[in-house]
Symmetry: C2
Subunit: 249 residues, 2 copies
């Protein structure tokens, strides 16, 4: 590890003579970006929304939708703006994952990126490439190409977060269509957690949470006995949260 003195002298460009001697402007050399990990579920697989970069650096490579934050812009707003500009997606509620700040992660200068993630229902949105994005597409998580910057590890960590979260919060619902069957729900859980469950027990477990509302309607156009359609009972979930009851799958 470099000595503190050496490090400082590299920064300030001349010999270091004391802590308070570094002019504060020397610290204002960073740029900040946001990167959005939008996860979806389709055809029995988890997908992530990627763009093809139509601008340097890493032009042509696939990447997370992300861009630099304006110096007078809040981070959350930046994430919302960037996602909309590049993919057309609006009204997507994202939460921060964490920040990535490797010194050499960006070729142009020191850029810290802040990760945001969201789970969405693939069929409720229609991504459309825009601005400097040459393309937008849902890419299978088991089959990711080489990505720009450190985006592969940003996705990996978001995924770890999802697997952790799915056990303690009813996040599955966000990834399914508005109405879904218990079979679909089970397939989703099995996919995320990479684990098989007993069908009858899975049903009991999920139903006993009291977070599903029976629509009284049935699947149609299936070549077998159709299953009941459910929706997520938001109200019941709010009540559960208020009571402080902690959800466990």
């Amino acid at each position: 590890m470099k000595e503190k003195k050496e490090v400082l002298e590299e920064v300030i460009g001349h010999q270091f003579t004391g802590y308070y001697k570094i002019p504060i402007e020397k610290f204002f050399q960073f740029a900040v970006s946001v990167d959005c990990v939008i996860l979806g579920y389709h055809e029995n697989g988890l997908k992530v929304l990627l763009i093809q970069r139509g601008a340097e650096p890493h032009q042509g490579k696939m990447a997370l939708p992300g861009d630099l934050v304006y110096p007078n812009e809040d981070l959350e707003l930046a994430a919302t703006r960037v996602l909309k500009e590049l993919t057309g997606l609006d009204h997507v509620f994202m939460t921060q994952t964490r920040s990535y700040g490797q010194v050499d992660r960006h070729p142009v200068g020191r850029v810290i990126t802040v990760g945001y993630y969201s789970l969405i229902s693939v069929d409720r949105y229609e991504p459309l490439a825009n601005s400097w994005a040459d393309n937008v597409s849902w890419v299978d998580l088991d089959n990711l190409p080489g990505l720009a910057f450190d985006h592969t590890s940003i996705i990996d960590e978001a995924l770890t977060m999802l697997r952790e979260r799915v056990r303690h919060q009813p996040v599955g619902f966000e990834l399914l269509p508005k109405e879904f069957t218990l079979g679909e729900m089970q397939a989703l859980y099995e996919n995320i957690l990479n684990e098989k469950f007993d069908k009858a027990n899975f049903r009991k477990r999920i139903l006993s949470m009291g977070l599903l509302k029976d629509t009284k309607r049935m699947q149609s156009d299936v070549p077998h006995r159709p299953a009941r359609l459910f929706t997520f009972d938001k109200e019941a979930y709010q009540n559960l949260l208020k009571k402080g009851t902690n959800f466990e799958f």
Copy 2:
């Protein structure tokens, strides 16, 4: 919400004529800081390590140990360096919480701060104020004074994280002395989770995890039957992690 065009024009200082017209240097106006939330447990209460600021802004106020990151310094290293410089604490393993980027959170300019947190055993470290810190002390979390910047909410979120984590990871051990009794352990859990447990059942639950090593030694100088002393069995925990067994309290 401001229109994009207006926002841009504020940033670039002249009329906006198209996305690619903003020179990239305009984006490199940020500074980045790290703030360390060091939590400890002492005399039946959770504490956080705070400094008294001996420098502007917010001179004189209590604050988290934190400072600006050098433009050529990795975030983790910065956190380690800053903590050591201000409080003398070394070899503290911290993990990132999240970043805070409100536009007006710092009076000098646009400063994004990255939160780091750690749980430590109060009696294993000897904090000592240094550099521009006028003072270091363990402050009771139930009795926090007004803090500099947005540090109160950084602490609040770290605390929420701790309460979440304590249910799924054996973090309690980090906060206790190397050797501890089951009674101390129970008091800690009750304190963090603000909930009482049945003594006999708590013992069974904790022991059945198989993460405690019996030292065969006893408490001394207590005015009652002395309790057995335990240590955390790191090896057993590693094995548990390898097997992928998920810890639940």
